[in-house]
């Protein structure tokens, strides 16, 4: 490698070509420039012996940085460090796997001292840590610089290849044959063209020299992979740009239309379904023992706000733009925004009740009204009576001073205080406490409270006849709303990587050089991969030319594939 390569050598080849410093094999004739011994060892054919850009006398600071990233050795170190760094992040779960924890205490509590150390070292967020990102950035730099440094010389070398190569270049290839032949040299070469073409080679001749080449594009495979990886990394980086990315977990009670923050969209969960496998769908061993979910589905409707958006004093005007039955593996998708099934809760949430005002003495009903849990009407009429809603408690309770309060904003134990006016009631009305849920009614002793408020002559009651008077949101679906505008570029990068992999790994660049000099045929052949296949191909070719050889005997340098 570069370390062992003397930088100052006479780079003018005997064929007259002036080579740049660092050239290993003459750019024109391929004669090995560095060692003039008659060694028969296979040549180092990487980049066809061209000087890499980085190999230059008198490096300045820019060159030094450039050379650092241009080194494959450094690239391998970076790969290995990233590999080791990644494994560290899998020892304990990362912070990002939890929605709601305090990492400063969680790791110590859950994993003891080891967890504490893990957290202190910052390994609980390995993949966002400065050193890990720095490694990725350095890999990106290495990808760019390594590729640039090699692809241009390689392109030049392959673009203007001399057909006639120095004899020592040929005999020091890994696949070599030297044979006496009786025929005229030019005629033999001319006869070799057709068989090689049949094998799929592009053949060029120059008198008694021949170059056959195929699948050169395979040489670009690695660089295509690297370009793909660079695009991939840039796309990942671009995801962080403002406006390109959104990620929110939102709660959708069945039947409610919920605004999606930072967008003009609203989403309604029309119906959430969870299904489990029936016993007959399960294997014998599981029946009656295990419950396996079969389906989570949210029937969702997406609305777009068309007018009065963002102004909380007005009701937004909504137009339906999309609807989809969201399942795991099947999100709703609209103009780059996606809604994923994330979680669910089957606890019913009370939305409204429609109680009747009745005379408990006579059983007479004065009529009913709808009482919403959220933003209820303040005034109701039932027959001759008017009910004024004075107070409302979503989760009824008493504070330290014994006063009624709401313990949460969720309608877990709702209670309402009415002031009822009408016939046979005091002029300034009668107060009435109403608990819509039956069990709250008993627990908080609604009757006793009202007896106290209304006195002995009290005869009015609010009652819900049957379940038709109660409106529940049966369940709640948790959806994950996402926008990721950089994804097309991520996939493009991944696709290019794949293309490069296929080109680079499933085809091989093969070249066969032939020269016939003074009745002696010299054959050298080179491939970047799969010497076995090349030898087989050369053998097949030679057989057509009536030269029989053993595949193994073509090999030069003893088994170094």
């Amino acid at each position: 490698m570069s370390g062992r390569t003397p930088l100052f050598v006479n780079t003018k080849c005997e064929c007259g070509h002036q080579n740049p410093a660092g050239t290993v094999l003459c750019e024109a004739c391929g004669k090995p420039l560095l060692d003039n011994t008659d060694s028969g060892d296979p040549l180092e054919m990487r980049y066809d012996g061209m000087a890499r850009r980085s190999q230059k006398a008198n490096p300045g600071i820019v060159d030094r940085v450039w050379n650092f990233f241009s080194s494959v050795k450094i690239a391998i170190y970076l790969i290995v460090l990233t590999l080791l760094g990644s494994t560290l992040g899998t020892i304990f779960p990362q912070e990002s796997t939890f929605l709601n924890i305090d990492p400063s205490t969680y790791y110590k509590q859950r994993y003891g001292t080891a967890g504490e150390i893990y957290y202190r070292l910052g390994l609980s967020h390995t993949y966002e840590s400065w050193w890990f990102i720095t490694l990725l950035v350095m890999i990106g730099a290495s990808l760019v610089i390594c590729s640039l440094d090699r692809v241009l010389p390689l392109y030049k070398a392959l673009h203007r290849q001399n057909i006639r190569k120095h004899r020592r270049f040929l005999t020091r290839q890994k696949v070599v044959l030297v044979r006496k032949i009786a025929e005229d040299s030019d005629a033999w070469i001319a006869g070799a063209v057709q068989p090689l073409k049949k094998q799929g080679y592009r053949v060029m001749t120059d008198g008694s020299a021949l170059l056959a080449e195929k699948h050169r594009f395979s040489r670009w495979g690695p660089y295509i992979i690297h370009i793909g990886l660079i695009i991939f990394l840039l796309a990942v980086l671009a995801r962080g740009l403002p406006g390109l990315n959104m990620d929110q977990h939102l709660v959708f009670p069945q039947g409610d239309i919920i605004h999606i923050p930072d967008t003009s969209y609203y989403l309604e969960n029309e119906k959430f379904t969870v299904e489990f496998y029936k016993d007959e769908e399960m294997p014998k061993e599981f029946r009656g023992k295990k419950v396996l979910p079969k389906l989570y589905e949210t029937k969702a409707v997406l609305y777009e706000c068309t007018a009065d958006c963002g102004d909380p004093s007005k009701e937004p005007k909504l137009t339906k733009v999309a609807s989809h039955a969201i399942q795991v593996n099947d999100p709703l998708s609209y103009k780059g925004m996606k809604a994923y099934q994330f979680d669910y809760d089957l606890t019913p949430v009370l939305r409204s009740v429609t109680p009747k005002l009745v005379n408990s003495a006579t059983g007479e009903s004065y009529g009913s009204f709808k009482l919403e849990m959220k933003n209820p009407e303040r005034r109701f009429a039932a027959g001759p009576y008017t009910l004024e809603l004075k107070e409302k408690y979503m989760e009824f309770g008493l504070n330290e001073e014994g006063q009624p309060i709401s313990k949460s904003p969720y309608p877990n134990a709702p209670a309402f205080l009415f002031l009822i006016k009408g016939p046979n009631l005091p002029a300034d009305g009668e107060q009435y406490f109403y608990f819509p849920k039956q069990n709250d009614k008993a627990e908080f002793q609604q009757d006793a409270i009202n007896d106290k408020l209304g006195g002995a002559g009290r005869f009015l009651e609010l009652e819900v006849g049957d379940m038709s008077g109660v409106d529940f949101s049966e369940s709640t679906s948790y959806l994950n709303l996402r926008v990721d505008r950089a994804m097309p570029f991520v996939w493009t990068g991944a696709g290019i990587v794949m293309l490069g992999l296929v080109l680079g790994f499933y085809w091989q660049h093969r070249r066969i050089w032939l020269t016939v000099d003074g009745g002696e045929l010299t054959l050298g052949a080179h491939t970047n991969k799969n010497w076995f296949g090349l030898r087989r191909e050369v053998k097949a070719f030679l057989e057509k030319m009536n030269i029989s050889v053993d595949e193994k005997s073509l090999e030069n340098g003893g088994g170094q594939a």
Partner: protein, 174 residues
């Protein structure tokens, strides 16, 4: 590339430094997107109890005490008198106290305000949008925002009169 070699190298290295710096900066030091002390206060657009829509922008140039509260949250209720007293004390010097109710409906908020005699502006956040953009988890949480719109201090938990006074004083004298 030939003669353009050096400039090309420099351009590529500069690009790598810029993009890399950006990557490291945003990923490793970008925090989790929640506003922190020193960062700009996120804007909001919420309905006030007065029936009008209010934005953060309308208080531009004034120090703001932004208090997130709920009627069910006992410490929120307890700190209301202190907030009211400080509002009375400092409003002449341009300080604005704004209470943002979290997730309750108008009736509850109105009843609560009537019951406690709070006079500073109260906004309602039924969809919890400001809650999300301010990254609120426990209530009460109070943001002290300076006249430039930057968050000076974040206080989580109940405030007493003296801390509140000291904080506002600090805000005004900046």
């Amino acid at each position: 590339m030939g003669k353009a070699r050096k400039p090309v190298q420099i351009i590529i290295l500069v690009l790598i430094v810029l993009l890399g710096g950006y990557a490291i900066g945003t990923s490793a030091f970008g925090g989790d997107g929640k506003p922190e002390e020193g960062s700009r206060a996120p804007s909001f657009e919420l309905l006030g109890l007065d029936g009008k829509t209010h934005k953060l922008d309308e208080y531009k140039g004034k120090p703001i005490v932004l208090n997130f509260w709920g009627s069910w949250c006992a410490p929120c209720v307890k700190e209301m008198p202190a907030l009211e007293a400080q509002w009375e004390k400092w409003k002449a010097r341009g300080v604005v106290v704004v209470g943002i109710n979290v997730g309750e409906d108008q009736m509850t908020v109105q009843n609560f305000v009537n019951g406690t005699g709070v006079n500073f502006p109260i906004l309602m956040d039924p969809e919890r949008e400001a809650v999300r953009s301010y990254g609120i988890s426990p209530l009460p949480t109070t943001f002290f925002i300076n006249a430039k719109g930057k968050i000076d201090t974040i206080h989580i938990g109940q405030l007493d009169l003296s801390t509140l006074d000291a904080q506002i004083g600090k805000l005004v004298n900046r």
